[in-house]
Symmetry: C2
Subunit: 238 residues, 2 copies
């Protein structure tokens, strides 16, 4: 892991890095060793320093003494897109605006991306093994790429996921997830059918899993769910 710079503000040190060709950012407490490490998976079309990612990272570090790390998902941020990525992304957008069903294309795209991102996240865990037990926090695309990671990686011990449905995640991933989970859904999600989200929650194999459903659309997750997710990690990792 090659750190590109280091800045500190408000008790939080931010270090962009490259791990091989993967661009990422590590946030750590300025004054003490972190209690644990939370991996943050960004949403579709976003990147490692999208406002929702940075906002979560700063609170994890400043309020709870955790470290946080985010990487650009394959084909996101400044990362290269293959012709296959381009084809699937174009097809997905065409269906989303044209009224077709994007779910089968999303599942195919997410399966392709996950095959690359799962080993990438594992190499991040290798590089940051000294930072304590790990959690994962990812919604929407971050959920679709996170579930296969949770199924494959015993070092990740708890997770906050959601804003996704059974038709949008790599097939079979949910059945391999056994860590304590919080699963968020939006009751009026315009991108995820209600039944699809409930079916995905049902398929998760974790003995401890809690569904939180709130009214509103995909982007309308209420701020108190962020507070609650922070407490969830404090309870499971600290």
């Amino acid at each position: 892991m090659r750190f590109l710079s280091q800045t500190s503000s408000g008790g939080v040190t931010e270090q962009p890095f490259l791990l091989g060709e993967i661009p990422g950012v590590l946030w750590t407490p300025e004054a003490a060793d972190p209690l644990a490490l939370v991996l943050i998976g960004h949403g579709g079309g976003q990147h490692k320093q999208a406002p929702g990612v940075t906002g979560r990272a700063l609170r994890l570090v400043a309020e709870h003494g955790f470290a946080a790390v985010a990487i650009d998902a394959p084909a996101h941020g400044g990362r290269p897109k293959s012709p296959e990525h381009d084809r699937l992304i174009t097809e997905m957008r065409s269906r989303m605006t044209g009224g077709g069903d994007p779910a089968p294309v999303l599942a195919e795209l997410h399966t392709l991306l996950a095959a690359q991102s799962v080993p990438e996240w594992r190499s991040v865990l290798d590089a940051l093994a000294g930072l304590g037990p790990a959690g994962y926090w990812g919604l929407s695309l971050g959920c679709a790429l996170g579930l296969p990671l949770l199924a494959a990686e015993p070092r990740v011990r708890s997770a906050v996921v959601g804003l996704s449905g059974t038709a949008m995640v790599p097939p079979g991933a949910a059945a391999g997830v056994t860590v304590p989970l919080r699963f968020l859904m939006q009751w009026d999600d315009e991108r995820v059918p209600r039944e699809d989200a409930l079916t995905l929650f049902d398929a998760l194999a974790s003995a401890e899993k809690t569904l939180h459903a709130n009214p509103g659309k995909h982007e309308d997750v209420p701020p108190f769910e962020t507070d609650g997710a922070l407490r969830f990690f404090a309870r499971h990792l600290a």
Copy 2:
């Protein structure tokens, strides 16, 4: 409201009372004025000092500086049962043990009980008007009797309800509920069909409402949901 006795322990004062013929218990902080008042509705077959009621009351007072009040529901605790109560309770138990569908009988029983308990709770609020803004915390029977109260009583400003389904609550009650709500359901509830609980959540008219679903049966609500409910009231009433 006629107080029958007063004892204090661990900073909490407990005062059993009679309000007309309604037996109740009031819990208050020993050393300061309460910040707010939480009404606790007990479950079916329970009473005002069932362990789950007293446990919640003590935490509301000791940890958050609230007052808490519980009353015996009609036909519960030491209260008289009418022949109609007896008939419905016998029929309900017969269906629950004999494999019939108890839901229609439960709806009829709960509608009968709510017609009596809603004005009773309102008279409790009249008697305790000085104790600050009010919340309501009731699961199962406590939800079935709580929703009509929430629909009728603007002094109750937030609520934690659940462990009930649309077929078990008085018809139309959910559509009149508009306060911020937390709704608990058990994903494998042997008494409340999953779809029934989801339909009841959907029918609640509150703009702010959050469904929390956890694996397990009716009695298996995880302890962290009690912690969460306490924080919910702290956020909405304190």
